[in-house]
Amino acid sequence: MTREEVKGNLIRIIGEVLPDEDVSEIKEDDVPFVNRVEMDSMDFLDIVLSLTKEYKIDIPDSDFTHLRTMKDTLDYLMPKIS
């Protein structure tokens, strides 16, 4: 699965968790998700859970700091997925 495909899936998941938000502006950069969309801690956990289901991977709590931005998240996910 390419980085671009994973990015697309991640944007879809964020859109499902935050259905009232415009997720089209989320780009692969260092801007935290919470600066782009209104997201609380429960939303974040929803996104993590969706990722674990989607890719059958484990994301321990200690790794949550790697999921702040789109770039961070893709850097973290790609080795696990491949």
């Binding site: 968790v17 259905p19 956990l45 929803d46 859970l49 289901k53």
Partner: protein, 414 residues
């Protein structure tokens, strides 16, 4: 204590969603026109079952995120509470929201949410790692009331009242009591149900031979009829705005009715089977508190759920008190909408309230042949009945583990 018990409490707003109407005028119209709300509902496990399903506009008062985070019962409660407030004409910005209470009757809560999680983790070999962190706030028993509080930013007390299928009445009673105790200045009180989404409950009724079946969904719920064969489970909700009479008069509110009597008691004899003697005592208690006589009642909305055994018990209890009074008219709402469980007491009472204004009594649908074992007097059947005046309405709601409730409301005439 007299000052407390004498404080007069009135209904000044009604919000509801039922299988045959999403507001009181629509609900009432369909009751008078004999329109059933029962349909075929497809459940993932049970397949096709007969049920009452609501089709209110969820987006009216909730964001998409609220709907995703919340439950069906919460959504029904939010819709009903908003509609009740709109109907009451109250401007919430004029109230201290810490002095508003939310009291929601439920038969059960959390079963539907548990089912969803079980389906989810089944895909992952039942690994509990995949249980949603949202399960607890969704499945916890105060959820429907708490979602209303969150949505309306009400900071007074909120809780649900678990009282089986008597809960809708008891939610109303709780609101009345809290107003009388001056714990709150405004009460949002009633009941909700999402039980059609909980297959174990449907299966449990079916496996005990208590689930209705009929080739025509509209004819499946038929209380007191000789051919009845069980309950039709439905979702629904009804929330009332309750106020102290003085407060309602001060703001020149529309007053639907005054709540003048209630009774709650317990059979204490069986997990499921009802007891006609205790039901009769419950109605007598409500009549006593209302300070009236049995013959003063104009309409009895029966609890009867269309089960072979349960309907007989209520018929016996009603006969024991009202059998000799030909002006006490009996009707049933579940024949139209099925059993809305925790909502039933409140929702069915709401459907009767317009009788104070139009003096019409809706009929009991599908009562083609009255069961000789249910020899209730003056049951309204075949078509609505026009009477000279309706002064008092008595509303029964009974539930498992022998919980009984009766509410009596009176026409408000100033």
């Amino acid at each position: 204590m007299d000052n407390v018990t004498n404080t007069r409490i009135v209904i000044t707003g009604v919000g509801l969603t039922s299988p045959n109407g999403n507001n009181l005028p629509e609900f009432r119209k369909n009751l008078l026109e004999g329109k059933s709300g029962i349909t075929v509902f497809k459940d993932k496990i049970m397949g096709e079952v007969l049920a009452g399903v609501c089709d209110y506009n969820e987006a009216l008062y909730q964001s998409k995120k609220e709907r995703r985070r919340g439950t069906r019962a919460g959504s029904i409660g939010i819709y009903s509470a908003h509609e009740a407030i709109v109907d009451s004409g109250i401007d919430l910005s004029l109230y201290n929201r810490a002095n508003i209470g939310i009291y929601v009757g439920i038969t059960e809560h959390g079963c539907a949410e548990t089912v969803v999680e079980c389906f989810t983790i089944k895909e992952f070999d039942y690994n509990p790692r995949y249980v949603s962190h949202n399960f607890n706030p969704k499945g916890i028993s105060n959820n429907p009331a708490g979602e209303i509080a969150l949505n309306l930013k009400i900071t007074g007390p909120h809780y649900t009242i678990g009282a089986a299928c008597a809960a809708g009445n008891i939610g109303l009673i709780q609101g009345l009591q809290m107003l009388r105790l001056a714990e709150v200045d405004l009460a949002l009180a009633g009941g909700v149900s999402e039980t059609i989404h909980a297959f174990p409950i449907i299966a449990s009724f079916k496996n005990s031979g208590a689930l209705a079946h009929h080739s025509d969904p509209a004819k499946a719920s038929r209380p007191f009829d000789i051919d009845r064969n069980g309950i039709v489970i439905s979702e629904g909700g009804c929330m009332f705005v309750l106020e102290r009479l003085d407060d309602a008069l001060a703001r020149n509110a529309k007053i639907y009715a005054e709540v003048v009597g209630y009774g709650i008691n317990t059979d204490a004899c069986d997990y499921v089977a009802p007891n006609s003697a205790r039901q009769a005592e419950c109605m007598q208690l409500a009549i006593y508190k209302a300070g009236i006589r049995p013959q003063d009642i104009d309409i009895i909305n029966t609890h009867a759920t269309s089960t072979p055994l349960g309907d007989v018990q209520e018929a016996i209890s009603i006969n024991s008190i009202f059998g000799q009074y030909e002006d006490v008219h009996i009707t049933n709402t579940k024949s139209f909408i099925g059993h809305t469980m925790g909502a039933a007491g409140a929702l069915e009472l709401a459907g009767e309230l317009p009788s104070f204004a139009d003096a019409m009594i809706h009929h009991t649908l599908n009562l083609d042949n009255l069961d000789p074992a249910c020899k209730i007097p003056n049951v309204v059947r075949d078509k609505p009945l026009k009477v000279d005046n309706v002064e008092y309405i008595l509303n029964n709601a009974f539930g498992m583990l022998g919980i009984n409730s009766t509410v009596i409301v009176k026409k408000y005439a100033g």
